[in-house]
Each structure stands twice: as structure tokens, then as C-alpha cells.
């Protein structure tokens, strides 16, 4: 086993992952993404080459924020000892890393590149970080609200050969396992995953806190390491070619109805949905 365990009694043995033992606590890695704020209306560029986000307000992806919050709560409960946050992108992502530090993460890693990476390439980058940091738990948002791919966590788990708990709405650490309740289309599923594991977070997992001013100030002093992507020596070229990004078909102009009776009649006779 490659992971380093911070336990005074069971040095470097897997036994340390038993959580009834007070010194034995998790190291958590949280991967976060910088995205356009969900309240901003974004539109495709006139030439269809992408989205016009040049002046848009940016923020921490809401699902990633939930992942950071969960890590912080695990630390507050004494289950986690250290929280490392990582992001991949231009120097601008340091703003979101600082936001995560302000929420309670301990230190940050910025993998710097000006290229836009596809989920598979991001997963390959994160695998290297996992190999360096040896977290027992890696948390990610289930998807980013820009690309909406919903892939990176599953891919990272595959590349590390770790179990995965996607769309998590509840987490509980039990011995050398993490129990995850997952939100499925038709109900809830609970799985026990052997650590180390990858978890992706869904909306119901928690309600992220607002960072306090003192914590925002403190976050500025926390360590933030910058590693150029090229230093990792990975093949991260895109596999997909974006031909165009365009407006979806506009909904045709609707009609106003005068009352409930007319509405029901239209829904029955015209739309045929009742």
C-alpha cells in the first residue's frame, strides 16, 4: 500500500485506517473547478466557436463547493486530518482555490495550463495528484455546470482502480470503509466502499457555509503550490472536436389563456397532454 498514514501508534500499517483509533484520520483531496456563476446568462459566440464568457462573473462550481463543505465537516468531526484542494487551469483558478481555502481547506495545488482539458485528461492529471498526495478519500462535484459532462470522478476512480460513490447525498466513515448513500433516478442506494475511494457529490449532501471575513483573510496565507501541467508529462490532447456551439431551438411563441377553463380545454384539445 502506498498511502501514508498519520498515526502515532500504527505507523505505516493499514490498521491505522480504523477510525475508532483517535489518531487515525483521513487525508482528503477535493478537486474543484472554476465556472461561470449560475446566475449569469451566457450565450454562444456569434461565430459558434464557443460560449461568450469573456466578462462573466466566475465562481466555484456549486457541486465542488458541496464537496469542499463535506470535507470541512469531516475535519470538524475529527474524521479528517488534512484537506488538500486541487484545480486545473489558468492562473485565474487560484481565485477558486482561495475560496475553497476560505471554506476550510488546508492547502491548495494548482496544476497550471492555459489549455482547456477534456474530462479524461483532467482525470489523468488528478490521478498524478492522487499518486503524490495519497488521500484516502477524494471528493469531486458530480458535474460542473458549464460542460455538464458528469465524467471526471468516475474516470479518476477507474484510473486509480478505486471504488466510486457517485451522486452522494450522505457519507459516513466506518472503519476502513466509507458508506455512501447515492441518489438514483428511482430511489436511494447505499454502498460500502473500501478506502481509498472516490466520491462525487450531489445537491442534498449538505448546504455549504458562507466563508467568514477572518477565514477569507486567513486563506490568503495558506500554502498554494503551482505545478505546470507540462511537468507532469501527460498526453492531454483533446479527443473530441467542437464543431459548433449554438442556441438551442427557440420555443415557439405561446398564447395567453383567459382562464382555467380555457387552459384545460387547450391542454386537452390542442396540446393533447391531458
Amino acid at each position: 500500500m502506498a498511502y501514508v498514514i498519520e498515526c502515532k501508534t500504527h505507523k505505516n500499517t493499514k490498521n491505522c485506517l480504523k477510525f475508532d483509533h483517535k489518531e487515525c484520520v483521513l487525508k482528503i483531496l477535493v478537486a474543484v473547478k472554476r465556472v461561470v456563476d449560475p446566475s449569469v446568462r451566457v450565450t454562444p459566440l456569434p461565430d459558434g466557436s464557443g460560449m461568450d464568457i469573456s466578462n462573466a462573473k466566475m465562481t466555484l462550481n456549486p457541486f465542488c463547493e458541496i464537496a469542499v463543505e463535506e470535507a470541512v465537516r469531516l475535519k470538524e468531526q475529527g474524521v479528517a486530518s488534512e484537506i488538500v484542494v486541487v484545480s486545473v487551469g489558468s492562473s485565474a483558478v487560484q481565485e477558486q482555490l482561495r475560496s475553497a481555502l476560505a471554506l476550510g481547506a488546508d492547502r491548495a495545488v494548482h496544476i497550471s495550463t492555459d489549455s482547456l482539458l477534456e474530462p479524461l485528461a483532467i482525470a489523468k492529471v488528478l490521478r498524478v495528484v492522487v499518486q503524490q498526495e495519497h488521500p484516502q478519500l477524494t471528493l469531486l462535484g458530480k458535474q460542473s455546470i458549464d460542460g455538464d459532462h458528469n465524467q471526471t470522478g468516475q474516470m479518476l476512480a477507474a484510473l486509480c482502480d478505486y471504488p466510486q460513490g457517485t451522486f452522494a447525498s450522505r457519507l459516513e466513515c466506518k472503519g476502513d470503509e466509507v458508506w455512501v448513500t447515492r441518489e438514483l433516478d428511482g430511489g436511494l442506494q447505499t454502498l460500502a466502499l473500501t478506502l481509498p475511494a472516490v466520491i462525487t457529490t450531489d445537491l442534498r449532501l449538505n448546504q455549504p457555509r458562507f466563508p467568514t471575513m477572518p477565514n477569507i483573510m486567513k486563506a490568503r496565507q495558506k500554502p498554494l503550490a503551482v505545478i505546470p501541467l507540462v511537468d507532469l508529462g501527460l498526453a492531454t490532447q483533446p479527443r473530441l472536436q467542437t464543431l459548433s456551439v449554438e442556441f438551442p431551438k427557440l420555443r415557439k411563441q405561446g398564447t395567453r389563456v383567459q382562464g382555467v377553463t380555457e387552459l384545460i380545454e387547450k391542454l386537452r384539445q390542442e396540446a393533447k397532454v391531458l
Binding site: V36, L120, I145, D148, Q164, Q189, V245, R256, L263, L274
Partner: protein, 326 residues
């Protein structure tokens, strides 16, 4: 594309594999929609199509799958190791199987979303998830920014892995002449994950993302108690109940009811928006609905711009009247 004109040893007859989705009834209706997506692919390329069924005691599912018209065969892996369909076991098994196919399709359901990227990473392939249109044998459209835009993506990878937003494709009819069922090697056992339990949502109502009708409330509902009105309406229509982020943030209802960019994406036959202004982030989660009804007392609410039927009225009068007349 490489495989279309490759005459070397790597040549393979173009083919597609559909991973069969199962639900409490057995063979899920999702599969007939996946076959609808394959039918669209076949407008561009001639394909041998196989369905694969994985599970424990799932031979009945395979029998239903065999009745899907236009397929070559059903592959059946019926074993202990298929029980609960956990991705740690399924992904390496499916990755091995998938290499022989030009396309692999799964539904963009929680089952498909969970599994496909894990399979793809093991194959070193970048999948295309949540496709809503097929433009050619190698070009696919998918929504980005929760549907604010559609991206067209081309790929030349050796196997094209797709998850399909099932609401975007028409189901094909099931047939009567069964295709052969071939038994294949099941996944090998794994010990990384263990199934504990699975509970259906404690509700008689349909699930938001698969419901035929959705009734959603916004800040205009004023408080959580008033959502009872929407539940009564939903009961009349067999509908699921959703909410805008504003209603969730105001504490009226739980976060899991949120429809929108940061909540659930829905595309029902009928969407009824009640007391809801139609903020960008909400519209992004429901704009693919077939028929949209808006009830709001503010005639300038943006929701009316995307509604097929708009009713400017006080919801506390209109909704009880609707309940009574339905």
C-alpha cells in the same frame, strides 16, 4: 473515419452494443429509446446491433430484450457477480467487451452516468455523454450550460461511447420474433465495493426526472405550507412536484426538489410553472419540456416568454380552480 476505410487487420464490421437498462419491472422502456437512437445512427451507417444484459437471475430480461426488432443477438451474463450492477465489477468487463464495437450506447440515467465514464477511462476513450441528437455517424449534439446552448462534437476514436438523453429520442416498437440469446462470460468478483441497501423514494409520486408531468412552484408560493396546493394538483395529474431555486433558498421546500441548472434537469410532456418568475437558471433545467404552462400574476414575468400557455392570474385562485375542474 479510420474504421470506415480501414482495410487492414484492424477492420471491424460497424457494430453497436447497447447496455440494457433494468428497472423494477425488468426490461426498462429506456432500452426502446436507446434503440431509437440506434435507428437514427443507421440512417448514416449500416450496423450490426447487439444488446447485452448483465445481472443476477436476469434471463427474463434477456427474453424481453430478444424481442427488440433489428438486432443481431442478445448477450447474457447472468451471474452472482452481476448482482446490483456495481461499476467496480462491470466496468472492466464491459471495457473488454466494448473493444469489438464501433459504438456503445447507454442511457443517460443514473445507471449509465455512473458506469460509462469508468468504462471509457479503462479504454482510454473520451465518451460523449447526454447526447440529444445524432448529426452523422461521428457527430453528436449535447447540451452544455444546462441546455443554454447545444454543442456539436465530432470524434474519430476507435470506439464511440455514448450516453443518450432518452427523452430526446423516440422509442421503437417491440417486435415478436426473438433474436438469439448468447451466454457470455460474466464479470470477475471484486471486493472494493459492497451493496448495503436500496430504498425507493418514500413517495407515491413519480420521480422528478422521469415524470410525465411536473408541477413546480416558485417564490410566489409564499411559504412551504402552500406547496400542499401543488401536491393536490400533482395528485390529480399523476405529476411530480418541483421548485425553483428561489423557493428552495427561501426555505419553502427541500433542495432535492430543485429544478434548474444546479438542480435537476427535467423534460416532461407537461410542465406547469406556478408562481415562478422563470430565472435563467430555472429555465435551463426545464426548457426541453414538450408543453409548458405558466401561471403567474405578473404579466411581465420572463416565464411567459417560454410558456406555450400563459395564464395571468393569482395562483391561489387559479390552482384550486384547476384542481376542481380536472
Amino acid at each position: 473515419m479510420n474504421w470506415l476505410n480501414n482495410t487492414g487487420s484492424q477492420f471491424k464490421t460497424p457494430s453497436a452494443l447497447i447496455l440494457v437498462e433494468q428497472d423494477p419491472s425488468g426490461f426498462s422502456a429506456t432500452n426502446l429509446k436507446l434503440m431509437g437512437a440506434v435507428a437514427r445512427l443507421r440512417e448514416f451507417i449500416s450496423l450490426d446491433v447487439d444488446l447485452v444484459v448483465i445481472g443476477k437471475d436476469c434471463s427474463a430480461v434477456a427474453s424481453s430484450a430478444a424481442l427488440v426488432p433489428g438486432i443481431r443477438q442478445v448477450l447474457l451474463a447472468d451471474a452472482e457477480t452481476g448482482e446490483h450492477q456495481l461499476p467496480e465489477g462491470l466496468a472492466p468487463w464491459l471495457a473488454k467487451l466494448a473493444r469489438d464495437y464501433t459504438y456503445v450506447l447507454v442511457g443517460a440515467t443514473t445507471f449509465g452516468k455512473n458506469l460509462l465514464p469508468r468504462v471509457a477511462a479503462l479504454m482510454d476513450i473520451q465518451p460523449i455523454t447526454d447526447i440529444v441528437a445524432i448529426e452523422s455517424a461521428s457527430v453528436f449534439k449535447r447540451p452544455v450550460y444546462a441546455g443554454s446552448a447545444l454543442a456539436s462534437l465530432a470524434t474519430e476514436q476507435s470506439t464511440i461511447l455514448l450516453s443518450v438523453r432518452v427523452s430526446a429520442f423516440a422509442a421503437i416498437e417491440s417486435g415478436e420474433v426473438p433474436a438469439p440469446v448468447v451466454v457470455i462470460e460474466p464479470p470477475t468478483p471484486q471486493s472494493k465495493s459492497r451493496f448495503i441497501n436500496q430504498t425507493p423514494v418514500l413517495s407515491d409520486r413519480p420521480e422528478l426526472t422521469t415524470a410525465r408531468v411536473v408541477v413546480s412552484g416558485g417564490r410566489g408560493m409564499q411559504n412551504g405550507e402552500n406547496f400542499q396546493l401543488l401536491y393536490q394538483l400533482a395528485d390529480k395529474l399523476g405529476a411530480a412536484v418541483g421548485a425553483s431555486r428561489a423557493a428552495v433558498d427561501a426555505g419553502f421546500v427541500a433542495n432535492d426538489m430543485q429544478v434548474g441548472q444546479t438542480g435537476k434537469i427535467v423534460a416532461p410532456e407537461l410542465y406547469i410553472a406556478v408562481g415562478l418568475s422563470g430565472a435563467v437558471q430555472h429555465v435551463a433545467g426545464m426548457r426541453e419540456s414538450r408543453v409548458v404552462v405558466a401561471i403567474n400574476k405578473d404579466p411581465d414575468a420572463p416565464i411567459f416568454q417560454i410558456a406555450d400557455y400563459g395564464l395571468v392570474a393569482d395562483l391561489f385562485e387559479a390552482v384550486p380552480a384547476l384542481i376542481e375542474q380536472l
